[in-house]
Symmetry: C2
Subunit: 234 residues, 2 copies
DNA sequence: AGGCAGCCTATACCCAAGTCTAGGGTGCCT
DNA sequence: AGGCACCCTAGACTTGGGTATAGGCTGCCT
């Protein structure tokens, strides 16, 4: 039926060693219009090229070879953050708690009520759509940041920390006018019209870059300061 | 032993209907220098005045009257966000998953290994310390925000959205010079030296206030704009 | 050797932001 | 009626940020 949309329609990934389970779940998902693909082992998932579509991964825990829990960790190590739902007949509390702490979105037990399963999958897909949207923004902005020269990045650090041009100039040991140049170029590259916009762009930047920003700007210390520069005092 | 420190030392709260369990856990915690108080029912916790110290709540699930799960929800409703650890002999996977989804930090089963219990409590306490630190900052900044007049709050919204004074003036239907006045007063009250600092202050503001900011500033739209004002173009 | 990117500097000018002073209006509380 | 908080406005001025133009330096690639 619905097959023409290989684009961005959600895709559930089922991993279970029991073919019967896979088929019935796929059928169930198809009945509500959710496409799915299935694997019979964790290894198959790792070696397969997963589609870059919003979706979720439904994992059995006990399988020959790698367990579902193992796969969860391996996927995390590969930085694959597609939401994971566990679905198992052989689990215990400790296992479910570990899985949840490791970021699983849900942990269902077989036999599962159809509606409970569909709800979990829907929630997971919605989560993934939101996650991917945020990721897309982060990557776009990350590319902007990468286009900056070293100097421009230093200036950026100072700017987001609230330093004035003259402070930046002092901090970098260059003239204020040069700071203006770098700053101006940086703002253009970051596609920011004002400091506020710059902040918004920086906000949705990968965590590692944000760290670099804060560390670098530690020199330019902001925060408080009662009678700083004849401004507020008086 | 350690009793003189009623100040900010951590305090675990144990809730279990079994006096023997309570006593042995308290003893265990005392052995590693963690103070604790215990309750025999969920009702007692709700009616008691909980100490405002960093800590965690250790909850049995099955108790006469309100269950641990019930108590978790009631505490959440009362906006008490002290980390919760479940410790139960009568749980199932569904229950543990629901508890974890509802924000529980851990879900242990009796009999519990001493070390596992202590680890969970330590982690929870550390979490709470961090949470409370963040909360303290949020409350301080929230107080700053509350001290603003309605006009100043409107101006703040525009400022964080990157609007220029003249845009703010147009948006509010007042003169640019009045905007400067409000803006200046607002910056002083918010204890911010620059737009960047203002942003940092706003960042650590309660979520509800941040919402108000964004909604209000939706009028002043930021983002992109190729040839906006003769600046970049040319 | 020439071209290019990145870095630094300078002068000059414009505009946006912030301050100071000095007013006028409203509504609320005592 | 006076005091106060909040809101609005104006003119004159200072400072900070941004642009344009114009130049010199290094190092890398072709």
């Amino acid at each position: 039926m619905a097959n023409s949309e290989t684009a961005d329609s959600p895709m559930a990934i089922l991993v279970d060693d029991d073919a019967e389970v896979r088929d019935s779940l796929q059928e169930l998902l198809r009945s509500v219009g959710i496409e799915s693909m299935s694997f019979s082992s964790a290894q198959d998932v790792l070696s397969a090229k997963l589609p870059s579509r919003p979706g979720c991964i439904v994992l059995d825990v006990r399988m020959p070879g790698l367990s579902g829990i193992d796969l969860q960790q391996l996927l995390a190590a590969k930085d694959i953050q597609t939401p994971i739902i566990f679905l198992t007949g052989h689990g215990d509390i400790a296992m479910s708690v570990e899985a949840m702490k490791a970021g699983a979105l849900d942990f269902l037990t077989k036999p599962v009520r159809d509606q409970a399963f569909l709800d979990a999958v829907s929630t997971a897909i919605a989560t993934d759509i939101a996650r991917r949207a945020a990721l897309a923004v982060a990557q776009k902005n990350s590319a902007l940041y990468e286009s900056l020269t070293p100097r421009e990045r230093e200036v950026l650090s100072f700017v987001v920390s609230g330093a004035m041009n003259k402070e930046i100039a002092f901090g970098l040991g260059i003239s204020e006018i040069t700071v203006k140049l770098h700053r101006s170029n940086m703002m253009k590259k970051m596609n920011a019209r004002s400091v506020s916009h710059l902040f918004n762009v920086c906000q949705s930047l990968p965590a590692d870059i944000q760290c670099r920003l804060r560390i670098a700007s530690a020199a330019g210390k902001p925060i408080a300061r009662p009678g700083a520069r004849g401004h507020f005092a008086n």
